[in-house]
C-alpha cells in the first residue's frame, strides 16, 4: 500500500459553549493516500466540517486538545501559526460551501484567484494574473481573460465555485479539501462542479477530501468514505463495500431512509427515528444507541471502538463486531 499523504490520528477538537465543553471531533483517525478522493459523510453537527478545519488549523474558536495530523513527516498540530500559513493554500487548499460569501466582493475575481501565488510564490501582479486566467479557463470559465476582471457579484453561483476551485489549484496543492462544495448549488450546476472535481483529481493528481451530507454525491465521487456521527467515525471503508454491506446501523438505516431516483416502485421510506444527539449532552455508550434498531444492552454502557468488521471495513458497533448481521424490514 502506498504511503499516506495525510494521516489523522485520534484527533480531538473541543468547543466551549454555554452548555459546557462540546467534543465536536472526538477521536477521529483516517488516512488520505496520494491522488485518492475520500468522502466524509454525516449530518449537520456530526463534526465533519470541524475535522477538515482542524486539519487546516482553522478550527477556531474550537481547540485541538489532542491527536496528530501528519503531513509530509510533520505534525500539523505542532506547527506555529506562521509555519501553518505556509501549508495553507500552498500544500493544502480548501473550498467552502457558500461560494456567495467566500469571495471578497470588493476585489476582481482574477486578482483573488491569483492571490495564493502572490502570497506563496512571491509572484508579481502580472504573472499571478496570467496564471489565474489560465486556471480560470482550465476550470471551465468561458472567456476567462475578460471574466477575470469581473467582480464576484457578476459571477453566478456555479462560476464562483469554479473560481474558488481555480484559486485552490493555482499553487498545485497536494490536498484539496472541499467542504460541501455543491450544497448551495442547483443540481445541474452540482453535476458540473462534481465533474470538475473529478477532472481536477485526474489531471492534477490532487488528493481530495470531499465533505458532504449527500450519500449520492459520495457514491459517484469517492473510492473510500468515512461516516461520522456525533463527533466520531462510526464506519469507514471502500465506498462500494460500505454501500453494499454497511456494517454500522447508522449507515445501514441512513441508506434505507433516503428516497432513490431509481426506485422501481413506491415503498414507504424507513426513517431513522429520533434526532441527532445534542453534543453537549451525549447519550452514554454508543451515541447512536437511542436511535438504533439493533442495540443490545452493552451499547448503552460502553463506547465501541472503530474496529475491523468484514474484509475491508471498519465499524464502531458492538453488534457487527460480534458478528451480528444488519438485516430486517
Amino acid at each position: 500500500m502506498t504511503q499516506p499523504l495525510l494521516e489523522v490520528r485520534d484527533l480531538h477538537t473541543v468547543f466551549s459553549t454555554k452548555e459546557g465543553t462540546v467534543k465536536a471531533v472526538d477521536g477521529v483517525s483516517f488516512d488520505l493516500t496520494p491522488g485518492e478522493t475520500l468522502g466524509i459523510v454525516g449530518e449537520s453537527g456530526c463534526g465533519k466540517s470541524v475535522t477538515a478545519l482542524s486539519v487546516m488549523r482553522l478550527q477556531r474558536p474550537g481547540k485541538i486538545v489532542s491527536g496528530k495530523v501528519m503531513f509530509k513527516g510533520q505534525d500539523l498540530t505542532k506547527l506555529s501559526e506562521y509555519e501553518m500559513r505556509e501549508i495553507r493554500g500552498r500544500e493544502i487548499a480548501m473550498i467552502f460551501q457558500d461560494p456567495m460569501t467566500s469571495l471578497n466582493p470588493v476585489f476582481q475575481v482574477g486578482w483573488q484567484v491569483g492571490e495564493p501565488t502572490r502570497l506563496h510564490h512571491g509572484w508579481g501582479a502580472k504573472k499571478a494574473l496570467a496564471s489565474a486566467v489560465n486556471m480560470l479557463s482550465r476550470v471551465g470559465i468561458p472567456s476567462a481573460e475578460s471574466r477575470a476582471n469581473d467582480y464576484p457579484h457578476q459571477f453566478s453561483g456555479g462560476m464562483r465555485q469554479r473560481a474558488m476551485i481555480a484559486m485552490g489549484l493555482t499553487t498545485t496543492p497536494q490536498v484539496l479539501i472541499a467542504d460541501e462544495p455543491t450544497t448551495a448549488l442547483d443540481v445541474t450546476i452540482q453535476a458540473q462542479i462534481l465533474d470538475l472535481l473529478r477532472h481536477v483529481n485526474r489531471e492534477f493528481g490532487t488528493a481530495t477530501i470531499l465533505i458532504t451530507h449527500n450519500l449520492g454525491v459520495v457514491a459517484g465521487m469517492c473510492e473510500r468514505i468515512i461516516v461520522m456521527y456525533a463527533g466520531k467515525v462510526v464506519e469507514s471503508g471502500p465506498t462500494k463495500d460500505v454501500f453494499a454491506h454497511p456494517t454500522h446501523p447508522y449507515t445501514w438505516s441512513l441508506l434505507r431512509s433516503i428516497p432513490r431516483l431509481d426506485a422501481e416502485k413506491h415503498e414507504p421510506l424507513k426513517p431513522i427515528e429520533g434526532v441527532p444527539p445534542n453534543l453537549a449532552d451525549l447519550p452514554t455508550g454508543c451515541a447512536f444507541h437511542p436511535r438504533c434498531v439493533f442495540r443490545v444492552d452493552r451499547c448503552t454502557r460502553d463506547v465501541p471502538a472503530l474496529l475491523r468488521v468484514g474484509e475491508s471495513q471498519l465499524a464502531a458497533c458492538w453488534v457487527t463486531q460480534a458478528g451480528g448481521e444488519l438485516t430486517g424490514a
Partner: protein, 339 residues
C-alpha cells in the same frame, strides 16, 4: 354573490374535474432602477403556465432555483396576485377574489414552508401558532380550541404537552411538524408544500416525508409538492411537472418521467441527480448541461432552454414549443424531444 361562492368552495369535490386548474398563469415582478425607481423591465417568474391538479393526488413541481416554482405555489394559493391568466379551484375562478371570499379560500388551502426556523413566529407559543388559524376563522373557542390544538399536535406526532413551549426549543424536524399542524388546523383540502424537507437533516427528511404521506391518506389531501430534489419528488408524487425559467417543460407520471423523459431538460436533470449506489453511479451515463440558467428578466426567445440544450436548433429560437402530448398522460414542450 359571495354567499354562493363561499358555499361552492366548501363543498366536497367529487367530480372528475381537476381540483385546481391553472391556465396561462403569469406572475411578473417589476425590476426598478435609478433614483426614481423607474420600472425598467420585469422578472418573468411564472410566464404562461398551464397545469391541472387532480383531487387526491400529489403533483410534484421541480426545477432549479429561480425557475418560478415557489412563485407558482404562492400564486395558486393567492399569496401573490397573478399578473395574468387564471387559477380555478373547485371550478371557481379565484384569480382575483378578495375580502371574505379570499378568507373562505384560506380555509380550503394551506401552505407548508421550507424554513422551519423562519416560518414560525418566535414570540408565539406552539399552541398560539397552531391556534391562530382556528382563531382567525373562529373555528373553536376555549376548551374546544385547546383540545383541537392538542389533537393537531398528536396528529403530527408531537407530544400535546408541547403546546405552551416556544419554537426555538425544538429541532428543525419538530418545527416542521408544528408548521404542518398549523396548515392542518383549517382542515384544508389542498396543501402547497414548498420545499418542506430541504432544510432538514438527512435522517429527519424521511420522517417528514412519511408523515406527509400518512396525513394525505388520512385526510384525503391534495398536495402540490414543490422541491428541487427530484428523488424526493419522485418518491412522493403521482405526477411531476418540470419547470424551467417560468415555464413548464414536461408533465408526466412520476415513474414515466424517470423511465422515459421526453424533454432534454428533464433528461439532464435526471442524470444530474446522484444515486446513492456506487455500482450504479460508476456505469451511469452522465449528461452534463453546460452553462447557467439564463436571466428571467430577458428570457431567451423561443424555447427558454435552448441556450443550454444540446439538441437545440435554429427553429427553437424562433418559436416557443407548446406542451404536446406523448401518449395519454405525458406532455413535453420540445420540438426535438428525446425518444
Amino acid at each position: 354573490m359571495h354567499e354562493t361562492s363561499v358555499k361552492a368552495l366548501s363543498r366536497a369535490w367529487t367530480t372528475n374535474e381537476p381540483l385546481v386548474s391553472i391556465s396561462d398563469l403569469r406572475v411578473w415582478f417589476p425590476v426598478a432602477s435609478g433614483v426614481m425607481q423607474r420600472t425598467i423591465g420585469h422578472v418573468h417568474a411564472v410566464d404562461g403556465v398551464d397545469l391541472e391538479i387532480k383531487a387526491g393526488e400529489t403533483l410534484g413541481l421541480v426545477g432549479e432555483s429561480g425557475c418560478g416554482k415557489s412563485t407558482l405555489g404562492r400564486a395558486v394559493t393567492r399569496l401573490l396576485e397573478p399578473t395574468g391568466g387564471t387559477v380555478r379551484f373547485k371550478g371557481e375562478d379565484i384569480t382575483h377574489i378578495r375580502g371574505g371570499h379570499l378568507r373562505a379560500l384560506r380555509r380550503e388551502m394551506a401552505m407548508i414552508f421550507q424554513d422551519p426556523y423562519a416560518s414560525l413566529d418566535p414570540r408565539q407559543t406552539v399552541g398560539d401558532i397552531i391556534g391562530e388559524p382556528i382563531d382567525v376563522h373562529r373555528l373553536a373557542k376555549g376548551k374546544e380550541r385547546q383540545d383541537r390544538i392538542r389533537e393537531l399536535l398528536r396528529v403530527v406526532g408531537m407530544n400535546p404537552r408541547y403546546a405552551d413551549r416556544y419554537p426555538h426549543e425544538f429541532s428543525g424536524g419538530q418545527r416542521q411538524r408544528i408548521g404542518i399542524a398549523r396548515a392542518l388546523a383549517v382542515e384544508p383540502t389542498f396543501i402547497v408544500c414548498d420545499e418542506p424537507i430541504s432544510a432538514l437533516d438527512v435522517s429527519i427528511q424521511a420522517q417528514i416525508i412519511n408523515l406527509l404521506e400518512n396525513l394525505q391518506s388520512k385526510f384525503k389531501l391534495t398536495y402540490l409538492f414543490i422541491a428541487h430534489d427530484l428523488s424526493v419528488v419522485k418518491h412522493i408524487s403521482n405526477r411531476i411537472a418540470v419547470m424551467y425559467l417560468g415555464k413548464v417543460m414536461e408533465v408526466a407520471p412520476a415513474s414515466q418521467l424517470y423511465r422515459r423523459p421526453r424533454h432534454p431538460y428533464t433528461g439532464s436533470l435526471m442524470s444530474a441527480i446522484p444515486i446513492p449506489d456506487p455500482a450504479i453511479e460508476l456505469r451511469r451515463e452522465r449528461f452534463i448541461l453546460q452553462g447557467d440558467v439564463a436571466s428571467p428578466v430577458n428570457p431567451p426567445s423561443g424555447c427558454r432552454f435552448r441556450t443550454r440544450c444540446p439538441r437545440a436548433r435554429e427553429h427553437c429560437a424562433e418559436e416557443t414549443p407548446p406542451l404536446e402530448a406523448f401518449g395519454s398522460d405525458q406532455w413535453a414542450a420540445c420540438f426535438y424531444p428525446l425518444d
